[in-house]
């Protein structure tokens, strides 16, 4: 086990696991942002493990997660907009989570790029980093917008909070 694998495992334990607890408990306003954090951190874990196993080919998993993770978050926002509007998440917590995501992405992607050295592999890593940052930005915007738009949105048929 080398330093990169250890870092990946540590991130899995200290980053992903708490985020997973957030996804599994509480209201939608807590689960949805936590889901975004979980996918972002897991993508970073994949990047670290790829470096630790010395297998650049494993980077593709992080690449796929960096585009599908935000899609998953947006999907929850779209279909649970009513619940988010009923109990909007705290503004400050949301911003803190986003900033935390940016910091984590930078803290993982930049050293990995430095280790990869200039070349297409480095550009690929940076693209994944940018996609992750963009995804976490848009997830926050979407949660925000869903909470702000409140109830009047969509036909009654669009709602799902019918029996609570």
């Amino acid at each position: 086990m080398n330093g990169w694998t250890a870092a990946g495992t540590a991130l899995l334990l200290c980053g992903f696991a708490p985020a997973a607890c957030g996804v599994a408990t509480g209201r939608a306003s807590r689960r949805v942002p936590a889901q975004n954090v979980a996918t972002t951190l897991l993508s970073l874990v994949f990047l670290l493990l790829a470096q630790g196993f010395a297998r650049p080919a494993y980077v593709d998993t992080a690449l796929v997660l960096s585009v599908l993770g935000p899609a998953g978050t947006l999907l929850f926002v779209r279909l649970l907009a009513d619940q988010l509007a009923d109990h909007p998440p705290g503004e400050r917590r949301l911003r803190a989570l986003t900033v935390g995501n940016y910091v984590a992405v930078a803290a993982v992607v930049l050293p990995l790029s430095a280790a990869a050295g200039p070349g297409r592999a480095m550009v690929k890593l940076l693209i994944i980093g940018v996609l992750l940052a963009l995804g976490s930005w848009v997830a926050t915007r979407a949660v925000h917008a869903a909470a702000a738009m409140g109830h009047g949105r969509g036909a009654p048929a669009e709602g799902m909070s019918g029996d609570r």
Binding site: A57, D60, R141, A145
Partner: protein
């Protein structure tokens, strides 16, 4: 059956399964062992056929017939879903109201859709080289189109999704797989034999029929998932039974 009785039956069955499972596990090779006779042979066969990704070689060359079976299950379940979720006589369509979405989210979707689509195509096309293949890439391609529903609007999705075309593509993917398999017959090979030249190791054209079968599966999975989700979206967003509709108007 009362809840109590059911729990007893469940506990008994669970216990039986657990005992048998433990007995079976005692005879399994220990975790992380070094004896993998089949795996080693599969790796050797894949290398002999110039396929860099052994897993793709197993799926689309060494056990291609098995994958044809799996593909048929996929085709069958898509077909079953289409039949089960069709619009019945006592149901009507209701135009869904446009959803209001933040402009920044919409812009992200418009940016992410082609990027996700390209990544999906990359995963399909490089299935015989790097991790990936038709199964994974197909799902990514299908998901990319649904970004339009997720982040924009159902009607926007409907505009770029000519459903008939995807139904045809689904069938065409399955047919292409069988045809590539049958093409081996005139060349004097068995069905689904790898009759094409193997090419240079670790280039896009390597692996003989593997990239072709991979692409066929990619088309089928992508089209199948799009058709599947279209039916679910229809049911959840558009189709209402007549009593529901009357209630909505009242």
């Amino acid at each position: 059956m009362t809840m109590r009785l059911r729990m007893w039956v469940l506990a008994l069955g669970g216990l039986g399964v657990a005992v048998l499972y433990v007995l079976a596990c005692l005879d399994l090779p220990s975790f992380g062992g070094h004896r993998h006779p089949y795996g080693d042979r599969a790796v050797r066969a894949a290398l002999a056929r110039h396929t860099a990704n052994t897993i793709s070689s197993v799926n689309f060359d060494q056990r291609a017939l098995d994958t044809l079976g799996e593909e048929s299950i996929l085709f069958g379940s898509v077909l079953g879903t289409v039949v089960l979720l069709r619009q019945t006589r006592d149901e009507d369509r209701q135009q869904p109201e446009p959803a209001r979405v933040a402009p920044s989210v919409r812009r992200y979707a418009l940016f992410a859709l082609p990027v996700t689509l390209l990544i999906g195509l990359y995963i399909v096309a490089h299935g015989q080289l790097s991790p990936g293949g038709g199964f994974q890439g197909g799902v990514v391609v299908a998901t990319s189109l649904h970004l339009l529903y997720i982040a924009v609007d159902y009607r926007a999705l409907e505009r770029i999704r000519p459903l008939g075309l995807y139904e045809v593509a689904d069938a065409a993917g399955e047919a292409a797989y069988v045809l590539v398999g049958a093409a081996a017959l005139p060349a004097g090979w068995a069905f689904l034999g790898n009759f094409l030249p193997y090419g240079t190791f670790n280039t896009l054209a390597s692996g003989g029929t593997v990239p072709l079968l991979n692409a066929a599966i990619g088309v089928e999975v992508a089209a199948g998932v799009v058709v599947l989700l279209a039916r679910f979206l229809d049911q959840a967003v558009e189709i209402v039974s007549t009593d529901e509709e009357a209630e909505g108007r009242a």
